[in-house]
């Protein structure tokens, strides 16, 4: 078996981010919110303060660890919502065709015409800031690529011999869509989903940066960047570490998406057995 570097590196980075988020209470040196101490304000990175401290003397290392929780929750959950919506709409549109396909196409075009971050901003403006609003706003606005892909796959798979054979064997529409179409398009859908998670992490950062995300003082990578922007020259570590966390997580997700594309191909799956 040939070593798939992208899968290994990407998977490790993503796994590391998840572990960091899960184990934050044990790995953190201090409480990310409570342990403010003006005596230690704006300490640069050192053996005591690995990533330095902020203007209130809070440990950046601990805040980055906790920040992983928000960023990953938003990235994973909102992308799952997007994938489910995109697959449900696209798959059924491609399979049934007709007026339903027209409706779904119109919706998709609408979504593609409006930049999803603008759309999410509008939703956030209505719902107000907070984690739930973030999940809803990002979960409802980034399904158009998945939908397009699912629809195109369903269209081409529909005429495959095994889909017609399933009809002949008495499968109903739902069973055909779930057992014959969905598994055969899952590879690219998962790849798109993984990449989408990366962009959701970025969107969370952007929205939090604009003050629409999780409310301070609880940390998210985006809100940390937002708070750090005035000290970017005097205390660059305040921006560098959350920025690095975002960068590595998104990089990891992109590499993982690439690597997954290879192993989700059934031909290559058996070549390894």
């Amino acid at each position: 078996m040939k070593l798939r570097a992208n899968l290994v590196i990407g998977g490790s980075l993503f796994a590391l981010a998840i572990l960091v988020g899960l184990l934050a209470p044990w790995l953190a040196h201090t409480d990310p919110v409570m342990d403010a101490n003006l005596m230690n304000a704006e300490e640069p990175p050192s053996w005591t303060w690995w990533f330095g401290t902020d203007a209130q003397g809070r440990d950046i290392y601990s805040r980055v660890l906790y920040g992983a929780r928000v960023s990953l929750t938003v990235g994973i959950v909102s992308q799952l919502i997007n994938s489910v919506i995109g697959v449900a709409l696209g798959l059924s549109a491609g399979y049934f065709g007709g007026w339903w396909d027209d409706v779904v196409n119109a919706l998709t075009n609408l979504m593609l015409a409006i930049p999803s971050l603008i759309f999410a901003l509008a939703i956030m403006a209505v719902l107000g800031p907070g984690l739930t609003s973030l999940l809803i706003a990002l979960g409802l606005t980034n399904w158009s690529f998945t939908c397009r892909l699912a629809r195109a796959s369903a269209l081409s798979l529909r005429s495959q011999g095994y889909v017609q054979a399933a009809t002949v064997l008495g499968y109903g529409d739902a069973r055909i869509m779930i057992t014959q179409l969905l598994p055969n398009m899952l590879g690219p859908i998962v790849v798109i989903g993984t990449l989408g998670m990366g962009s959701a992490v970025l969107s969370e950062a952007a929205l939090s940066f604009l003050g629409l995300g999780v409310r301070p003082p609880f940390p998210s990578w985006g809100s940390m960047l937002s708070e750090a922007r005035e000290q970017i020259t005097t205390a660059p570590w305040l921006s560098i570490f959350p920025g690095l966390a975002i960068f590595l997580t998104v990089l990891g997700l992109n590499l993982l998406g690439d690597g997954l594309r290879d192993i989700l191909d059934p031909q290559s799956r058996s070549r390894r057995t």
Binding site: Q160, G161, Y162, Q164, A165, A166, T167, V168, L169, G170, Y171, G172, R175, T179, Q180, P183, N184, L186, P266, Q267, R269, S270
Partner: protein, 326 residues
Amino acid sequence: MTGSPLLEVEDLRIDLDDGSRRVAAAEGVSFRIDRGETFGLVGESGCGKSITALALIGLLRPPLSIGGGVIRFEGQEIQHLSAAGQRQLRGNRIAMIFQEPMTALNPVSPVGRQIAEMFVLHKGKSWREANQLAVEALASVRVPAPERRVKDYPHQLSGGMRQRVMIAIALACGPDLLIADEPTTALDVTVQAEIIELMRNLCAERGTAILMISHDLGLVANVCRRVAVMYAGRIVEERGSADIFRAPSHPYTQGLVDSLPRLGSRAAHGRSRLKEIAGVVPAITRFPDGCRFNPRCAQATDICRTTAPPMEELEAGGFVRCHHHA
């Protein structure tokens, strides 16, 4: 219902709607298949065999549709069943296997699961029971080491093995009728013989009737008790298999029989060209008036060019559609 045949097709007409007009892709198609019987449908490519089969299971889709006639399965008119009612027949009471064992299996699903799905779908079994039954089904089509093979994906199996899996799926629910549309064309000759033999034996054991569709008269006559020959959307002759070889009645059938390689003849060894029927099958939109075979028929007369011959019953048994039949 005893007495009534398993399948009865009466004056079936299949329309092809090409947007501007309707043409009959098949018409006047009538035949019956009794329980456990083997019936063959033979004809050149494009004569309407597959669309007839699709009509039987209610799966004609636009631009094709049933334009008239009746199809009765166990006395029940298939066209009048609800969509759900038709679905319950398909795969359960009437099963079908195709020409393409390469593409008729889902590539990302283990073959055992695809067999098991039939028991879950039609027999209401739990997945546990169904998986067990799938191993038995695979054993019944003589796949070696079935308990290991159920976990294989289709691309791990040879063409012959895949066709065995297709047969296992088709026969899983113990259907009353198996439609086999060119089941072995894609396989090499020795595998072909094995698969046909297997299919015939399994169906004979279980009392499953077979409707075998092929362009190969020799193959069909070998498997089936009765054979119908189709030409340009019409059945032109229906006879017992032995009769059709001994004394083909329709000029087209005579041509088919003459073009078959005889065992032991030089033709069988490919040294001389087989006698072929001159000309080509007309396109649906350009069927000639009168008898559709008349442009290719050596015995054609004026009446053949104006009047379509009716189906006539032969004294020796069977039917033929020709003004000047033997």
